[in-house]
């Protein structure tokens, strides 16, 4: 497995621990369905994904998964309160047009919302920005600025503030070090490379 694939699977394991077996899961920005496939196998969940790209939805269909091609906010508006047990928004949140809108809408239609993101407060990312004076490029952000989609990098501290401001209850946190594997014992905003949050309505 390449380093990238390994990194891709890290949040799968944490999310896999959090997801209740046989629950109804919605994956926002489901990509080619790797996470859903894992959760279907490991936790027998019934999963649906949403993605904007035809090719990704088509890949999900080939994997035997349900996926919907379209805008995630429009999709979520079509569902009643608490329709899903869990909404997952992993490695997508920094690319959203209206992250607060998406997370609040997810909290309406889902009982729990799992958000995962790369922590731009991680010391290496700070050094990248400060010393190299360059856009962060790593195993996840592989592209140059001109090849990337608009991104809205955030840090763990930013996200904590957001939850407090919106009175969102943080049920669980997982802060992982730069290897995206080991739990971060102290100062997560400086030492954690990746963060996962399990959210619920207050």
């Amino acid at each position: 497995m390449s380093r990238l694939v390994e990194k891709r699977t890290v949040d799968m394991q944490v999310i896999g621990e959090w997801v209740e077996p046989t629950s109804r899961v919605l994956d926002l920005g489901c990509g080619r369905g790797e996470l859903m496939a894992y959760l279907v196998q490991a936790k027998q969940v019934s999963a649906t994904g949403v993605d904007l790209e035809f090719d990704r939805v088509s890949a999900c269909v080939r994997r035997g998964l349900s996926a919907y091609q379209g805008d995630m906010t429009v999709f979520m508006r079509a569902f009643p309160d608490r329709h899903f047990d869990r909404i997952i928004c992993s490695r997508t949140v920094h690319e959203l047009n209206d992250p607060a809108g998406v997370i609040l809408e997810a909290l309406r239609i889902g009982n729990k919302v799992t958000v995962g993101f790369v922590n731009h407060g991680f010391w290496k990312n700070r050094i990248d920005a400060c010393l190299r004076g360059r856009k962060v490029r790593n195993a996840v952000y592989t592209t140059a600025w001109h090849e990337s989609r608009p991104a809205n990098p955030l840090t763990i501290a930013d996200f904590e503030d957001f939850c407090r401001e919106k009175s969102i209850r943080v049920v669980r946190r997982a802060h992982l070090l730069g290897d995206w594997r080991t739990r971060c014992p102290i100062l997560p905003n400086l030492f954690a490379g990746y963060a996962l949050y399990d959210l619920a309505r207050a």
Partner: protein, 398 residues
């Protein structure tokens, strides 16, 4: 459905029907049901015939059948050629065949001319045994559900235990949807393309103009006309008008633009066909009257207008409650007759009802007829859905 969108670039070889991925020369067959058949309207007929074609073979467990459902003006001939000199294959030949997206080496593919049709199945142009003359508009009103019930009798007759999938575009998508609702434990998958769970006022309006063109033609004569006669002018106009609704502005612009017909010369002050689009539509109208019955057109468009499963159940989610099938819904961006929004709403209702379903959308300029498109993306999607394989689940190369 138009005739020409998917017509492949005519292969030069006279042996094109022998192409390796083609089902080759096919022959339609007739199934006759000899017991009384009750329509949803309460009317009955003493029996009926359905003309159908099938490709591939039913397996030992009798569960590899794929039922293909045609659109308004389509028929049972969805793949292969009727003879070596045929100039056109079946209407979904690009999708169905050995090794194609709907692989006839794997699946037993069946396509049936609908009840109420005029390509060999019992419909208004068939002889009423009571009078010895064509039924005309004495034929019972047909609904999509009646079409489905009749086709189920054929599938039972063929020994099909369970449908691997039912699929269709436009009205064919309605038929597929109805199959999954009416026979939930018989239908494992449904593929619905460029369809709707109920027509918009605009779509009904277009159908009504078509019907009026037919019924206002004096030769319609209240539906009572000889087999070789009838409202040919009205039917041709109905077809020309409907044909425009199957295309898109951009697609027509690309195909015809403002190009003039060769024989138009420099003469601008005439009402003869000058623009290519005019002669094209005239040709479409003329070729249609040679193969389609005007009364069938009335009946089938009416069945499409009436299709509205949400109406009886209260909501579409409730109508979908019995569905067991996994669903694949495909919309096309340039389709303004049954636009993406209406296809999305089918998918969303299935998901709200807790069913497994996917929605994908293709960006083409072929309008409503896009489902007949030659597109590797569409083929991969359909094949992936029909052959979905557990082994793919962890293949990161997908």
């Amino acid at each position: 459905m138009t005739d020409d969108v998917q017509a492949p670039p005519a292969p030069q070889s006279e042996f094109r029907h022998l192409a390796g991925d083609d089902v080759g020369i096919v022959r339609p067959r007739d199934f006759t049901h000899q017991q009384p058949f009750a329509f949803k309207s309460g009317q009955t007929i003493e029996g009926f015939t359905l003309r159908y074609e099938s490709y591939g073979a039913l397996n030992a467990t009798r569960d590899n059948a794929v039922l293909v459902c045609h659109a308004l003006s389509g028929d049972h001939h969805c793949a292969g050629w009727h003879s070596a000199s045929d100039h056109k294959p079946g209407w979904w030949n690009n999708l169905i065949g050995p090794g194609k997206a709907v692989d006839t080496r794997r699946f037993f593919v069946i396509c049936v001319n609908v009840l109420g049709g005029c390509q060999g199945s019992t419909g208004p142009s068939s002889t009423d045994p009571a009078t010895g003359r064509p039924y005309g508009i004495r034929f019972p009103f047909v609904t999509i559900r009646d079409m489905v019930n009749a086709q189920k009798l054929l599938l039972d007759h063929l020994g099909v235990a369970e449908l691997h999938a039912v699929m269709g575009g436009s009205m064919g998508g309605m038929t597929a949807m109805m199959f999954a609702m009416e026979f939930p434990h018989f239908t494992r998958r449904q593929v619905i393309m460029a369809s709707t769970a109920h027509e918009s006022a605009q779509a009904i309006a277009f159908n009504e103009v078509g019907r009026q063109a037919i019924m206002q033609d004096p030769a319609w004569n209240s539906g009572d006309y000889p087999r070789d006669g009838g409202p040919r002018v009205g039917l041709a106009i109905a077809r020309m008008m409907a044909h425009i609704t199957y295309l898109s502005d951009a697609g027509m612009d690309r195909k015809f633009g403002r190009r003039k017909h060769e024989s138009a010369g420099g003469e601008a002050y005439t009402f003869d066909a000058q623009f290519e689009v005019e002669s094209y539509l005239r040709h479409q109208g003329q070729s249609f009257i040679n193969r389609f019955d005007a009364n069938s057109y009335l009946y089938i468009t009416r069945a499409i207008d009436q299709f509205d499963p949400a109406r009886a159940a209260g909501t579409l989610e409730r109508a979908f409650a019995p569905v067991q099938a996994e669903s694949l819904i495909v919309g096309f961006k340039s389709d303004w007759l049954f636009p993406p929004e209406q296809n999305r709403s089918i998918a969303l209702s299935l998901l709200r009802a807790g069913k497994r379903g996917s929605y994908a959308e293709l960006d083409t300029d072929l309008g409503h007829d896009s489902f007949l498109l030659e597109s590797d993306e569409l083929y991969a999607l359909v094949r992936g859905f029909l052959e979905r394989n557990e082994a793919y689940a962890f293949d990161f190369a997908i």
